[in-house]
C-alpha cells in the first residue's frame, strides 16, 4: 500500500502577472524516487522551494507527512529532510568538516556521523581543508554529504549531478538506489533526462508553470506512442534481401546507408521486427534505441499534450 508523504494541493505561485506555478496537484509516495522535469523557467525550482517552505504559495497548500510546510509544526519534519540546492554555495573559509558540523548542529544531527559521511563521499582527506580549495565536484559531494546529515527521510536534490564526472554520476545513482532501499523518499530535478530515466520511479513533466503529466517513464511512453529506432548493421550485399524481408512492415520508415539501416517504427511492432531482422541473412548487429525521456519531453513540449493524456495521467 503506497502512502503519500508529500501532497501538493492546488498550489500556485504568481509574481505579478507571471504565473511561475499554476494550480499544481501532485502526490509523492513514501520511498519512491520522483523527478521534476522541465526547461528553465518551467517552474521546477519554484515548486521545489515551495515544497521546502522557502517560498509561500499564492494559493493552495503543501503537506509533508501531513504537516503544512508553512506551519510551525513543520520544523520537526524539517529535521528529517535533506536538501541539496542547485549550485550549492558554502562558506569558503570553513573546512569540509566544519561545514558539516555547522549544518549538523542546526539540524540537530549526530555530529559523530560527519567523518563517515565525508568518507562515503570520498572527501575524508580534504576534510580539514577550507572549502575555498574544493573543485566543483567536491563541493557537490559535500553538498550531498550535508543533505544526508540527520538520517533524512526525504531528500530534495536540485540538479544533483552538476559538476560530477561520469564515474561520480554512476556512483551517485548507485548511492541513490541504496537510499531508496532504506526507504528514503527522493525528489530530484535534472536537465539530464537520459541519465534520469533509468533511475526514477515517476516523473512530473512541467512547462510554463503547468504540470503537463505525471507517471512512470513506461506509462508516459505508452501515452505518447513515440516511435522506436533500430540501428542495423549489415553486409552491403544483403541490402535487397533485407528490403524484401521487411516488406511486411510498410508503416515503418527504412533509411538505408552504406552497410547500415535505420528503422523507425511504432513500439508495438518491436518484437516482429526484431524477429525478422535476427533471422535475415547478412544482418551483423542490431541496436535498439528506445524513445528516450528527451524524445518524450520534446514530444510533449512541441506538440503540446492532448488534454486527454493530461487528464488520464494527472
Amino acid at each position: 500500500m503506497k502512502s503519500a508523504i508529500i501532497e501538493v494541493k492546488g498550489v500556485s505561485k504568481r509574481y505579478g502577472e507571471i504565473h511561475a506555478v499554476n494550480a499544481a496537484d501532485l502526490v509523492i509516495y513514501k520511498g519512491e524516487i520522483f523527478s521534476l522535469i522541465g526547461h528553465n523557467g518551467a517552474g521546477k525550482s519554484t515548486l521545489f522551494k515551495m515544497m521546502l517552505g522557502l517560498l509561500q504559495p499564492t494559493n493552495g497548500e503543501i503537506l509533508i507527512r501531513g504537516k503544512n510546510v508553512n506551519g510551525h509544526a513543520f520544523r520537526e519534519v524539517k529535521r528529517r529532510i535533506g536538501y541539496l540546492p542547485e549550485n550549492i554555495v558554502f562558506y569558503d573559509h570553513l573546512t569540509g568538516i566544519e561545514t558539516l558540523h555547522f549544518i549538523g548542529k542546526l539540524k540537530g544531527a549526530d555530529l559523530k556521523t560527519c567523518p563517515s559521511l565525508l568518507d562515503k563521499m570520498g572527501l575524508l582527506k580534504a576534510a580539514r581543508r577550507p572549502v575555498r580549495g574544493y573543485s566543483k565536484g567536491m563541493r557537490q559531494r559535500l553538498g550531498f554529504a550535508q543533505a544526508l546529515l540527520g538520517e533524512p527521510e526525504i531528500l530534495f536534490l536540485d540538479e544533483p549531478t552538476t559538476g560530477l564526472d561520469p564515474a561520480g554520476i554512476r556512483e551517485f545513482y548507485q548511492f541513490l538506489q541504496e537510499l531508496k532501499e532504506q526507504g528514503v523518499t527522493i525528489i530530484l530535478s535534472s536537465h539530464n533526462l537520459a541519465q534520469i530515466q533509468e533511475q526514477v520511479d515517476r516523473i512530473a513533466l512541467m512547462k510554463m508553470g503547468d504540470i503537463l503529466t505525471v507517471g512512470s517513464v513506461a506509462e508516459l511512453r505508452q501515452q505518447l506512442d513515440l516511435p522506436l529506432h533500430i540501428q542495423v548493421r549489415l553486409d552491403p550485399k544483403a541490402k535487397d534481401a533485407l528490403r524484401r524481408a521487411l516488406s511486411g512492415f510498410a508503416e515503418c520508415e527504412l533509411e538505408f546507408g552504406e552497410g547500415s539501416l535505420m528503422v523507425t517504427c511504432n513500439t508495438k511492432r518491436k518484437m516482429p521486427l526484431l524477429t525478422t531482422l535476427a533471422t535475415t541473412e547478412g544482418v551483423t548487429d542490431i541496436q535498439i534505441q528506445e524513445p528516450s525521456l528527451e524524445d518524450l519531453f520534446l514530444g510533449y513540449v512541441s506538440r503540446g499534450a492532448t488534454s486527454q493524456a493530461v487528464s488520464a495521467l494527472t
Binding site: 521546502l52 517552505g53 520537526e76 524539517k78 549550485n87 573559509h93 542546526l106 540537530g108
Partner: protein
C-alpha cells in the same frame, strides 16, 4: 512560536568566530587602541598641553572620535548579514534547515554584536587600563560609562545595518545605504538642526529640538556622555539646547534601547 536558543547560539557562534578568524576583531580593536591612545595623550594639544590632562577632556575627545568611528564600523559590520547570504546563495540552504527566520536574524545580530562589543571592550579597555594608574575610582566609573554608551551606540547602528541587509536588493545597495545613513546620522542631522535653529533665530521648533535629538542614536550618545561632564558641557553647542529635564539617563538609555530593538523588530517583520 517557540524560539530555540540553541539555533540562535549556533548562528551567533559562527558569526563571531568568522570575525575572529578573518581578523576583523583584531583590526577594529587595533584601530580603537591606536586612536584612543593618541586622543587621550594628544587630545588636549589644542590647549597647548601634551599628555594626559583630565578624564573629562579625555572622554570628551574620545566621544568625538567614537561618534564618527563606531557607527561606521557597526554599519560596515552588519550590512551584508542577510543580503550577503542571499546574494551568495546560501540563504536557501540555511532556511531549509530547522531554523526560523527570527532565530537566524537574532543569531546573526547576536554574533555580530559579540564581535563588536569584544572589540570595543578590548580596544577602549586597553587604553582604560593604561590610564587607570592616573585615575581615581570616580574617573574610572566615568570611563566605564563612556564605554558602555559606546557599546549601546554601536549596537543601535548594528541594528540599523541588519535592517538594511534585510531590505536591500543586493550588497551594493546595502553598502551604499549604510554609508548614506552614516552621513545622515553623523554629519548631516546635527547640521540641519543647527541650520534651522540659526535661520529661524530660534523661533521655530525650539521646544521640539531636544526630542529631535533623541531621533538620532549618535546624538543620544553625545548627550549621554556630555551631560555627565560639567567641565566640557559648554564646549558643545548642541548639548546646551538640551534641557536638564530631558537629560535623564533612563530616558536617554531607553531611547537608545529603542534604537536597538526598533530596527531589529522592523528587520524581522520585513524578513518574514
Amino acid at each position: 512560536m517557540a524560539i530555540e536558543t540553541k539555533q540562535i547560539l549556533t548562528i551567533a557562534q559562527k558569526e563571531f568566530w568568522d570575525r575572529i578568524r578573518n581578523r576583523w576583531v583584531l583590526a577594529v580593536t587595533a584601530i580603537f587602541v591606536f586612536f584612543a591612545f593618541v586622543i587621550s595623550y594628544f587630545g588636549s594639544s589644542q590647549q597647548g598641553v601634551v599628555g594626559f590632562s583630565s578624564i573629562e577632556l579625555t572622554i570628551a575627545s574620545l566621544v568625538s572620535l567614537a561618534i564618527y568611528l563606531v557607527p561606521l564600523i557597526s554599519l560596515i559590520l552588519g550590512y551584508d548579514a542577510i543580503v550577503g547570504e542571499r546574494e551568495r546563495g546560501s540563504l536557501d540552504l540555511l532556511l531549509a534547515l530547522p531554523i526560523t527566520r527570527l532565530e537566524l536574524l537574532l543569531g546573526k545580530y547576536l554574533g555580530l554584536s559579540a564581535a563588536l562589543v569584544f572589540s570595543i571592550i578590548a580596544g577602549f579597555g586597553a587604553v582604560g587600563v593604561f590610564l587607570s594608574y592616573q585615575l581615581d575610582l570616580e574617573a574610572l566609573a566615568q570611563y566605564a560609562s563612556f564605554m558602555l554608551s559606546t557599546i549601546l551606540m554601536g549596537l543601535s547602528f548594528l541594528s540599523l545595518s541588519v535592517l538594511i541587509s534585510v531590505m536591500a536588493a543586493n550588497k551594493t545597495i546595502a553598502s551604499g545605504t549604510s554609508i548614506a545613513l552614516w552621513f545622515l546620522f553623523v554629519l548631516i542631522y546635527d547640521l540641519v538642526l543647527l541650520g534651522i535653529l540659526v535661520v529661524t533665530e530660534g523661533q521655530w521648533g525650539g521646544d521640539l529640538f531636544p526630542f529631535l535629538l533623541l531621533l538620532n542614536p549618535a546624538d543620544i550618545f553625545r548627550i549621554l556622555n556630555i551631560f555627565g561632564l560639567e567641565q566640557v558641557k559648554t564646549l558643545y553647542g548642541l548639548a546646551t539646547v538640551f534641557p536638564e529635564s530631558l537629560a535623564n539617563p533612563w530616558l536617554l538609555n531607553g531611547a537608545m534601547f529603542s534604537w536597538i530593538i526598533g530596527p531589529l523588530g522592523l528587520a524581522y517583520w520585513k524578513f518574514k
